[in-house]
């Protein structure tokens, strides 16, 4: 009789766990409170155009790279992935100048060294860090190994301070941290986050034509193919504990799903109220989780362009400054996203009710972002057909992230022990997964999904076999 697994939340982490374990013979039921599965992979339509909510581009998907074998296993490789310009997948606009970052470790090193020859040693040191991090990516499968110990040490080092010590030229530092928006780079960011995420994009960078929802749809189809269920419009309200184990998941619709194991793939701060009737979960754990800080959110402009008005930009542009921007072009339609960090506190006053002042504030902020973006894309203002905006309030509503945070819980190098939330919980058959545990991003969430499944099954051999297919 197959064991019953209930997964709360159908974002990337929940769906990847569901797929992995359905193929291992578990009877999987994924419960999603939203009308659509996908979480931060969701897309939406405005002006007859599809926009992404959270997915922009993915690194390390090429053959032999970190995600390749896994995405092959997930049956995601034949989606319409488009490689970004290998001579410059990222463009950093800083101090009035433009710097391209090319793909390939050697090309990346050579290109930066040609612009900053006095920093050759520092650039090589950084490249070695990227290489080592990639090499040790799956070391979590062997937690007692030297490789894993070395990896964990990187969580206790400041990314900013390490860059300052390794790269002495402030302009080069600005270039190397200019795309930090995609990792939420702050003074708290651990070096591991910088090394893993940034390094993966050096290998290769890809956009998904048609949007991130396809990833969710494929994983859902894969789970169903294995006899599993993915149910939407189902809101989990509580977990039932019997004799120290979770035995069922209860919903707002007064349904009860029996479970031998549960994976909570939603924000842990949304899970804690569901554990109120679980005596094994003591106040100290619940309070700790509830007091953890979240990363900042984003203010996003989703721009429908006049067809043919602006050439497609096959790279991601980052403009540094007091209001840093990330500019993302859509490969298969006249559309563009502009993102800038924006804290929940900026929008909190409108959390319960949006009014004219909210709309006016969004408008002013959007105009400012367009003005900044036009420094690099002077034809942009005239090319705009319509601008739609989203704030952390929007993000919280549609993706369930607390405070609309872009990257989930904040990992802090000052206290990795207390800011890296374990996938294990006080209940022996309840696990966490998703961007809030180790790292955000497609790579981070996928690694955590593997870790969760490794711990749940108590064996790593089958995961190693999947990885070794590359």
């Amino acid at each position: 009789m197959p064991c019953k697994l209930v997964i709360i939340g159908a974002g990337l982490g929940g769906l990847e766990c569901g797929y992995l374990l359905a193929r291992r013979g578990w009877q999987v039921t994924v419960l999603e409170r939203h009308a659509v599965a996908g979480g931060c992979l969701q897309t939406f339509r405005r002006s007859n155009t599809t926009f992404d909510t959270g997915l922009h581009y993915v690194g390390g998907l090429g053959e032999g790279e970190s995600l390749h074998a896994l995405f092959d296993y997930f049956q995601l490789l034949d989606l319409p992935w488009r490689p970004l310009d290998r001579t410059g997948y990222d463009e950093i606009v800083t101090d009035g100048r433009s710097f391209l970052l090319p793909n390939g470790y050697d090309a990346w090193c050579e290109h930066l060294t040609s612009s900053f020859p006095h920093e050759q040693q520092g650039i090589n040191t950084l490249m070695n860090l990227f290489r080592q991090t990639e090499q040790y990516l799956f070391s979590f499968l062997h937690p007692d190994s030297t490789e894993h110990q070395q990896t964990m040490q990187l969580f206790g080092i400041s990314a900013s301070e390490w860059l300052e010590q390794t790269i002495h030229d402030p302009l080069l530092r600005s270039v190397l941290s200019g795309n930090g928006l995609r990792i939420g780079l702050t003074d708290s960011t651990p070096l591991y986050a910088y090394a893993q995420i940034q390094g993966s994009y050096v290998r290769s960078a890809w956009r998904l034509g048609g949007g991130g929802q396809q990833i969710a749809d494929r994983l859902v189809a894969g789970i169903r193919q294995q006899g599993g269920q993915v149910l939407t419009d189902v809101e989990v309200t509580g977990l039932e504990e019997t004799n120290g184990r979770i035995t069922a998941v209860k919903t707002a619709q007064r349904e009860r799903y029996e479970a031998d194991a549960v994976i909570a793939a939603l924000h842990p701060q949304r899970l804690m109220p569901m554990l109120h009737d679980c005596p094994s979960v003591r106040k100290v754990y619940r309070h700790r989780v509830m007091q953890m800080k979240n990363t900042t959110g984003m203010f996003s402009l989703h721009i429908a362009l006049r067809p043919g008005s602006l050439p497609y930009l096959n790279r991601t542009v980052y403009i540094t400054g007091a209001q840093p921007l990330m500019i993302h072009s859509y490969p298969d339609r006249p559309a563009l996203d502009i993102l800038t960090p924006s804290a929940w506190s900026e929008w909190e006053q409108w959390a319960d009710q949006r009014d004219e002042a909210y709309e006016a504030y969004k408008q002013r902020k959007a105009e400012e972002c367009i003005r900044i973006a036009a420094q690099r894309l002077p034809d942009l203002p005239a090319a705009i057909e319509q601008v739609y905006t989203s704030t952390p309030l929007t993000y919280a509503r549609y993706t369930g992230t607390v405070q609309g945070s872009a990257y989930g819980l904040q990992k802090d190098w000052h206290s990795p022990m207390t800011t890296l939330l374990a996938t294990r919980t006080p209940l022996p058959n309840l696990w966490l997964t998703g961007q809030n545990n180790n790292l955000h991003g497609v790579l981070g969430v996928t690694m955590t999904a593997l870790q969760t499944c490794n711990e749940l099954t108590g064996e790593s051999g089958w995961i190693e076999q999947i990885i070794q297919q590359q």
């Binding site: 003591r282 106040k283 100290v284 754990y285 309070h287 700790r288 007091q291 000052h414 206290s415 022990m417 207390t418 374990a422 294990r424 919980t425 006080p426």
Partner: protein, 80 residues
């Protein structure tokens, strides 16, 4: 805060958060056993001490904190 006030606060906070009877938290009692700590709840303890007393306990210092008395002494030297 006097040493006794500190001890009272430590015991009150630990008893409340770890849901144990404060009476079993004697100075020579073993913290790990009394609070039923495993590697996961050890992190809860570290986070709680940081939040309530402003003291960050480095991983290297944890092994020495075997009894409640040792914890009182440790925080007595460092707490605000």
């Amino acid at each position: 805060m006097t040493q006794q006030e500190l001890i009272t606060k430590i015991n009150t906070v630990l008893a409340e958060e770890f849901e144990v009877d404060a009476a079993v938290m004697t100075p020579e009692a073993n913290i790990k056993q009394t609070l039923a700590l495993d590697s996961l709840s050890l992190v809860d303890l570290v986070a709680l001490i940081d939040g309530e007393f402003g003291v960050k306990i480095p991983t290297a210092d944890l092994p020495q904190l075997t009894t409640f008395q040792r914890l009182y002494d440790y925080l007595g030297e460092r707490a605000l």
